[in-house]
């Protein structure tokens, strides 16, 4: 139920309530009077949308090409894959059986175009629309099957145009003049004169492998065996087309209608089943099988050309591959944010002279590290730390010791200053120049300190 004019009104019904004479939009009070035992719940459009999206993902086991249609529909493109399930009728039966087991009331229709299937599910008998019957069943549908706005349907009905066939017989020009382009367009879509694209939720991968189990599986060992078979099959597929996998995704379809996804990225395109299996194996325990997994699909989300292996010809190729596989293992266990390399920062400001970037994908990167002619410390503190300078008695400019992290350190020698000007175009007008010194304490430790105005900071450690 949802709030409407004059109090709460019904937003959706189950078949039992509909059979009891209730209608959508009816005030709740009236419905209660008709069916005293009625149980009701507040409408939850966001929850419904989420549930529908989850259901759409779950339907990925039947077809890769799925779109959510409105608030309560799904469209699956099953062209060319019904034979996998034993024909169109068997496919419908299979989907129906699964939906019923999930406790969902549903109407299924299979027709030559999305508009026809929509009309056949909502206004026709449902089921498979027999192509041999021609257009007759569609023409007999009510005008509402054209998916026109309700007011327009009412206007059409006032003119005596109650069925699709009534509109189809009319000359197109007067219809367009009176009602605009919409009825004509919808008519073309329904009767298959025009094509309607389906935009899928997840663009389907070109290469995928599917495995379905007679009995749902749940043990990690079983999942692993199934995964190994899928990977081997996908790798064979890639080898035939001369491609290597760069990114892939495993989708597990659970008995309870949920899906579990596992994505994997590779540093270098590969079709080595053993390597890919090892990478996946580390994450198999993340899959929650719930009450069991019925089907698994492995998709090549991104693939790149990979010429056939030529063993022994290029010794470098082995090194590059081994390093790429090492990176894969590190990245997949630790996350990409924790496998890094040092990149030159294109700036003379110390904090910006270096940055961390993701580890190289393959081979040597065009790193422009140049030999620094000025001495730079081996370690840079995450942030400059304030220090206290202690000047020699009676002298302003000759420090004797300094205090860093509560430890007083006697100064042994110093070198500098080296003035580093701020980058005004990046740091704004507030930044000040720094005078850097290399200093050494009496134990021989060397520090990189600077003075900014009257304050001193320690910024790095020399080896």
């Amino acid at each position: 139920m949802t709030a409407g004019p004059g109090g709460l009104r019904l937003a959706a019904l189950d078949p039992l309530a509909a059979a009891g004479g209730l209608g959508i939009g009816m005030p709740l009070a009236e419905a209660r009077a008709l069916l005293p035992g009625l149980s009701s719940a507040p409408a939850d459009p966001t929850g419904d949308a989420e549930g529908l999206a989850a259901l759409a993902d779950w339907c990925g086991r039947f077809s890769p090409w799925i779109a959510v249609d409105g608030a309560d529909g799904l469209i699956l493109d099953v062209s060319g894959l019904a034979h996998l399930f034993g024909g169109e009728a068997a496919l419908l039966q299979e989907i129906g059986r699964h939906l019923a087991r999930l406790g969902l009331h549903h109407r299924l229709a299979l027709a030559g175009s999305p508009a026809a299937a929509w009309a056949w599910a909502r206004h026709g008998d449902g089921g498979r629309l027999d192509p041999s019957a021609g257009l007759a069943p569609l023409l007999a549908l009510p005008a509402a099957a054209l998916r026109l706005p309700a007011e327009m349907v009412a206007d059409l009905a006032r003119l005596g145009l109650r069925r699709v066939g009534d509109l189809a017989r009319l000359p197109r020009a007067p219809l367009t003049r009176r009602f605009g382009l919409q009825p004509g367009q919808r008519l073309d879509l329904l009767l298959g004169e025009a094509m309607e694209p389906i935009s899928p939720r997840h663009p389907p991968a070109e290469r995928r492998c599917r495995i379905a189990f007679a009995e749902p599986i749940g043990r990690a060992e079983d999942l692993d065996v199934a995964l190994e078979r899928l990977i081997a099959e996908l790798c064979r597929l890639m080898e035939r087309s001369g491609l290597g996998l760069s990114r892939l995704e495993l989708v597990c379809y659970r008995v309870d209608g949920a899906t579990q996804r596992l994505a994997l990225g590779l540093a270098q395109p590969s079709r080595e089943a053993g390597h890919i299996h090892r990478l996946f194996a580390a994450h198999v325990e993340c899959i929650d099988p719930g009450f069991g997994i019925e089907a698994m699909i492995l998709e090549a989300v991104e693939s790149n050309p990979l010429p056939p292996a030529q063993a022994g010809l290029a010794p470098d190729a082995g090194a590059t591959r081994d390093l790429a596989q090492l990176l894969d293992r590190l990245v997949n266990r630790l996350s990409p944010a924790r496998v890094l390399r040092l990149l030159p920062g294109d700036s003379h400001w110390p904090e910006r002279a270096m940055r961390l970037g993701p580890a190289p994908h393959s081979g040597r990167q065009p790193g422009a590290w140049e030999e620094e002619e000025r001495l730079r410390p081996l370690c840079l503190l995450p942030a400059p730390e304030p220090i206290e300078m202690e000047m020699a008695d009676g002298e302003e400019e000759s420090p004797r010791a300094f205090r860093w992290r509560r430890v007083r350190r006697l100064l042994g020698g110093s070198e500098g200053p080296e003035r580093i000007e701020p980058e005004w175009w990046r740091q704004g007008a507030g930044a000040r120049a720094r005078d850097y010194y290399r200093i050494e304490d009496v134990t021989g430790r060397r520090y990189w300190i600077y003075r900014e105005g009257a304050r001193w900071y320690l910024h790095g450690l020399f080896a």
Binding site: L323, L326, L378
Partner: protein, 259 residues
């Protein structure tokens, strides 16, 4: 010693043995040990310091690849890091600029800051050949090191911020031995020395009074007949090599005076 019983796989190994017969029984011992360890570990790469007394104190006449080396230091002192960076840079140079894997425990080295690329260059370790791994837990760091040590196309694997313990260091030593990659461990400064299977253990701290990096390098233990000792060593960043600090060069076998 029965040379004939050693598993000989290739002509080159036979050649090595014959070659050794003429020269030195101790080199022959090393070679035999390497052959017995398996095909990957044959001809272990030995990196000499280029400092006669230091090399003489090590059983193989230098630092061996395929072995685990532990280098401890002091807090607030980057000397141990510099020493390891210089050694890793030399291993990388000897292996055609192969990459170096540097694993750090996150938070552990925070006090003394992060590796700074512009400062790394002078130790001969090129920042573009460095792979940095940030681990959250010691177990993760040891895992990453072990993975790295299995890949024989790395020049060196460095782990910073954990004290390994006996079993973990054995695993690292084993992995390093099969791939022939040099492994370095930088335990957190100030920690008590734990039991370890490392082949060599060093303690490196800064020394005063010199412009170039100058360290007091103390060899605390070397397996297989090394002689512990300490030396004052400088790093020549122009030539990427070690040298003995000048005043001590002429009495090189005498341990350096304590500070």
């Amino acid at each position: 010693m029965n040379i004939i019983d050693c598993p000989i796989q290739t002509m080159s190994q036979i050649f090595v043995i014959e070659d050794c017969k003429k020269t030195d029984i101790s080199i022959l011992k090393t070679r035999t040990r390497a052959i017995e360890a398996g095909p990957a570990a044959t001809r272990p790469q030995i990196l000499s310091f280029g400092i006669a007394p230091l090399d003489a104190a090590l059983p193989d006449g230098g630092l061996g690849a395929g072995l685990l080396h532990e280098v401890s230091g002091a807090a607030g002192d980057a000397a141990a890091r510099g020493f390891v960076a210089a050694l890793a840079g030399r291993f990388a140079g000897a292996r055609g600029e192969a990459p170096v894997l540097w694993c750090r425990l996150r938070g552990a080295g925070q006090e003394d800051g992060a590796l700074y690329g512009p400062g790394l260059v002078r130790f001969g370790l090129r920042p573009d050949r460095l792979l940095l791994v940030l681990a959250e837990r010691p177990a993760e760091l040891l895992w990453a090191m072990e993975e790295g040590l299995r890949c024989r196309h790395l020049a060196a694997v460095i782990g910073e911020g954990v004290a390994s313990g006996l079993s973990a260091s054995r695993r690292l030593q084993l992995a390093a031995g099969t791939s022939g990659v040099a492994a370095f461990l930088l335990p957190p400064p100030g920690g008590r020395a734990s039991a370890s299977a490392a082949a060599t253990r060093w303690h490196v701290v800064a020394m005063p009074g010199r412009a170039v990096p100058c360290w007091r390098v103390e060899l605390r233990r070397a397996r297989g007949g090394g002689r512990p000792g300490d030396w004052i060593v400088e790093w020549e960043d122009a030539a990427f090599r070690f040298r003995l600090a000048a005043p001590l060069a002429d009495r090189s076998l005498v341990p350096a005076a304590s500070r």
